[in-house]
Amino acid sequence: MMDSIAQKEFVSTLRDRRFAVLSVLVLALLLAATLVGRASYRTLQQERQLAQGTVNEQFRNQPARHPHRVAHYGSFAFRPKSGLSLLDTGVDSFTGSAVYLEAHQQNSVNFSQAQQSGSLLRFGEMTVAFVLQLLVPLLIIFLCFGAFTQERETGTLKLLLSQGVTLRQVAWGKIWGYSQAVALVVTPALALAAALLFTGEEFSSGVDLVARLTLFVLGYGVYFFLIVVGAVVVSAKQASSRAALVTLLGFWILGCIILPKATANLGASLYPTTTKAQMDAEVHEEAQHGINGHDPQDKRSAELKAALLKKYGVDTEEKLPVSLAGLQMAAGEEYSAKVYQQHFAALNATYERQNRLSDWAGLLNPYQAIRPLSMGLAGSDFAHYVHFQQAAETYRYNLVQRLNQLQADMGYGDKERRLDASTWRQLPVFTYQAPPLRWVLPQLLLPIMALLLWAGLLSWLGLRLISKTPVA
């Protein structure tokens, strides 16, 4: 009986012209978003690969220079796009794409997409995730709002129950029928996306990508399922179709438009951060005067010199086999990088505190659970961005320290000399490896839990509510 109810809902949905129009629209948007996402992914990826290649070549082809000149010449790190980001661009449009790596300072990641477009971008970007997270739920609402109210209004619910089925079975039948209809709309687009992902030569179709895509699909499956169940429950509890529709649309507006913005803004108000200028000044000050005012830089330099003279058993800098300036530079870099790391960690901790409000709101609002899950799996969330920043800083630090070591090995009077052009070819260039799924999974536990909790609670509590609902 449940199967035939499901069958009936599925078939009558397909026959409904309004549904046909809406679903064709959503499907078209999904397919378009996939293709556009892929095109923009390719453009950005190519631009960045090309730029990275250019700066790498420039670095390797430098003439004979003093190593500290090379440290100031520096390099650039470009952030490659992650494969799945063509489905969900996450925060990518609002984060910079390139960072200049040089001695003595940590620069900001510059040139974000958002800075290159007007306020139009703030209305939202047409991506697959955007359609799946915001528009498909609307489609589901239009599909399901009359699930029970219509049966009641036309008096068919009584007839149905007289056949010996329970309300609960009717509800499950409807949920199953609607789920099939939703799957029919969403699956082709996801299949196309998967095909594009795994056939494009630019993607390494590894196990990691398969696992990410699988979880991505499963996550959205649960998300759609819980919205179908929720809509059916609301439909059962409301007196009229109109009331059910208005209630559901109200939930959609609250959950998809108002709450995400409100929580993000509230988080930022609650946990203020400092500007980059302020942070850089503090890093500089602490590096100069020592953390907590202990051992200032002059004192550290003098101690280093004394220790070196003692180590090599000589009395003047000229007699040292190493360049004092190079070693002092290395010590200074080590110290200031340590200070910077503390400040950077504190800044990110504050950002995470700001975002936590939104993460926990996922327990109240499924949209705020699927959003972090989706962009986390797509590799376009805040954590992945920080990972890139860390990788770029690690590379910068190692590069500068290698150059300082080269300078130190030149011995006294290094300033008058240069190192051979071939030296720069032996230094590694920046390559970025995005973190594997198992790195990001722990951070996604909360949204996964929230989604499962919603699905479970709605199936259990919601269906209990339905079984107690009046028939006429």
């Binding site: 200049y100 900001s108 510059n110 290159q116 477009s117 306020s119 209305f123 047409m126 200028a277 302020q278």
Partner: protein, 460 residues
Amino acid sequence: MRNFWILFSYEGRHFRAAKGLVLLCCLLLATGLYGIYYGTTEIERQRQHLATLPELTRRNVEELKVKFPGPADAGDIGYYHTTFAVHHPDPWAALSLGLRDVNPSYVKLRLLGLQNQLYAADNTNPMKVLSGNFDLAFVLVYLFPLLIIALSFNLLSSEREEGILVLLLAQPVGPATVVGAKLAFRISVVLGLALALSVVGMLWAQVPLDMRVVAWLVLTILYCLFWFGVALVVTALQRTSAVNAVTLLGVWLVLVVLVPSLLNLGVAAARPVPQGIELTIKQREEIHAGWDRPKAQTMNRFFALYPQWRDTTSIRERFVWRWYYAFQHLGDQAVAPQAAAYAHRLQQRYDLVEQLNLLSPAINAQSSFNALAGTDLPTHLQFQRSAARFHDSLRAFYYPFLFRKVEFTHADYAREPTHTFTSQPELGTAYGGLVKLLLSVAAMYALGAGLLRLRPISPR
């Protein structure tokens, strides 16, 4: 006319009895107040941040005075001294934050090449920027249409569905009066709310009393009237309440969500922006090549631009600052065409959106609000130009020290130029938006009236 007012006052009683609608209006009032609160605190925070910058410069000068106790080479000072070009918000920015969270509100400057300093980003939380600003403009542009939809989706249909419309039209009133009175009551509620919020926002943000007050209020009124126009058109189609609700929400979705995101894609494709990073890479190459080129070559190229320093002595030393700053500036010069093209392309992209925003009054209203508040891309580009001029004035200040070999004394710090820039409203854009909005409103009401004439209201 009397009938109109009777109907109008009965709508009022009806409205007060419908607890849900009153609650909805109160909710929107609360979100509007939160939007104003958020906008003003956000701008206040930015002001506080900007206020700390002179202190940072002062501390930097203190440090330099210790480092160089006596008269110093101005080259050393120029290298270690940092100062800031600051972009102060206009008080109106609190009502429409625009891109003030995306674009940095200051640029840290040293005497070195400008182009690799000009595009530095500030610390931002990308998750927050992605979610967007909850300011008054958001409430007006996004949420007010939803209130209007909630109030008017069943303008006539509920009366018809409940069988009241037959009775009503049996009285000596025309359907036009009924629709007019119902619409007029809802318009007065919504406009009352929108204007009250706007006035509270203006007082809270302490905006200067100029033409922009009128422009903002007219924009708000027109934008709300546009959505009532849409409701009128949908009412004129005479479908059921559920169909009306779905249709109106569909229109909202198309105009507020779909058109902007599709337009964004289209504009990005039609007006590609050359990568800003390319010019910083090229500038770095130029500057660092300066070290390896013969000094006379560098200086001659520099003197071609600044003949007034031509008579300074030729350089024999391994390193002098005036040579160093000469090739820093030549690096900027080498990428000047790219830098101009980059800014120009960004402006073109913005202009194209301005031309196309007739497609969606929501985009139009948003960019007009931003233009009034001076928080959109053109203002930021203006600020960047202003920062570039400040960098020019810094160079003009330091060059006499460098080329005439004048020693830099402690008193000279105070003579260094400083920078300030306050957002200017883009009044042209705002007034243009107003006219376009007026056109949209006129089109909607003409369509609604036409439809009503074509198919008179049927009581059943």
